[in-house]
């Protein structure tokens, strides 16, 4: 069960605000991460080059979850 169900809120966060927050946080996060993942490809596409995947060792560990 969920913690916020039981928490006594002193501010009413508002149902709508919670949902937008979820959308905003999730959406912006995923756009950011997708861009990060595909940045090499996007760059390559606009430069008209062939995309070469980076070496896995260089990947930074910043996963979303």
């Amino acid at each position: 069960m969920h913690v916020i169900l039981f928490k006594l809120n002193y501010l009413d966060p508002g149902s709508g605000s919670l949902l937008v927050q979820l959308v905003a946080a999730g959406l912006l996060g995923s756009i950011g991460i997708l861009t990060k993942i595909f940045w090499g490809r996007i760059k390559a596409f606009f430069k008209g080059e062939k995309y070469v995947p980076p070496q896995p060792a260089e990947e930074e560990d910043k996963s979303e979850e």
């Binding site: 969920h2 709508g16 937008v20 905003a24």
Partner: protein
Amino acid sequence: MKSGSERIGASFRDPSGFIFKRDGVLYRQVNQSYSDAYEKLISSGVYAALTKAGALIPHTESAEKPADPLLAYKVIQPEPVPFISYPYEWSFTQLKDAALLTLGVTRTALEKGMILKDASAYNIQFINGKPVLIDTLSFDIYQEGAPWDAYRQFCQHFLAPLALASLVDIRLTQLLRVYIDGIPLDLASSLLPGKTKMGLSGLALHIHMHARAQQQYADKAVSQAAAVKISKAALLNLLNSLEKTIQPLKWEPKDTEWGNYYNATNYSDDALKSKGMLVGKFVERVNPKTAWDLGANNGLFSRELSKRGVVTTASDIDPAAVEQNYLAIKSTGERCLLPLVIDLTNPSPAMGWAHSERNSLLERGPVDLVMALALIHHLAISNNVPLETVAEFLASAAKYAIVEFVPKSDSQVKRLLATRKDIFDKYTEAGFETAFSEEFEILEKEPIPGSQRTLYLLRKR
């Protein structure tokens, strides 16, 4: 409530504790219900990190008896705030800096396992020229997956007024004076330009979509919202997104009332300098600790007070002059000066529940010295305020007053009279002295070199 202590109106909503005043000292009672959060604030290092950065007001734990012992966990004594100001009195960059501080504090808290449970602009005050969070009880223990309860409040208190000021009109920050919990997002959404609705921009999300969602879910139970689970990383994204939305919002004053007033006044550089020296001489004679400079423009003469260590607010009706003053303070790191946007013909009233949440301007006084330079003619002639009434007002604000009298022969007054009938028979130097004699005695009177004006040092009778 224990006798001899007075609970302060602004802090009644939060069950975590409240502010009370005893023997002239402000304390904050921390309630039992907040004990875990308070201990976490200290043990997590959030308190240390934020006070070190100057972002949170430092406090000491006090042995003083609580005002409500049944609920009490601790009593703390926060460092005093020299002057409480409100967001509807701030210039654009003051509000923006307060917004960015709130986001920064939330981020620091989140990294150490806490979160801000509210994001009220009224929790921010300017101390030594910088914004500081003054509500020590704003922190809650962060629960993994929990959303940010203060998101809506942040958008209403900060994002909406900043966006409106930047993209529509600076005067819309005054909506904060109407809506005590920030500008309603549906109102902000309907006032903002249509282009801000496009795409996935910050404003499209945090204002427009937010407003629509509020309307859609206004009377729906929390069951849907209860399913909301947001990872910490996603919350940090949300904070980043808010910051990225606020950061590019700018306001550059163009044609304002006083913007370049000092270029268009009756004073030459030499005259300005000697007026400054005269003001300084009067200030030194009174040696005040606190002062208000009313009609201060960009604070040129307020600095005769603040540079002598006098805690000074420099208020003006013109948001551009106040903005200019704040930017100067920011770049030089001046400490004793607080610029505020205040229309003296309609100063900030007492507001909120039972008129006790926000104080009127006069309730936040009195101060030792009030200064009114090149102001009397605007009040007396442009606003038809009788000189006696001006004297009464100044006498209710401070024990000493420095007042500049600008005669009708002065070209600034001629300009004011050019478009209207001169109904001001008593507006003469003698008339001024008679009108003020009821409330004040004249300690000094000096002509200002290079002008037709006179500077008075007055003491309340």
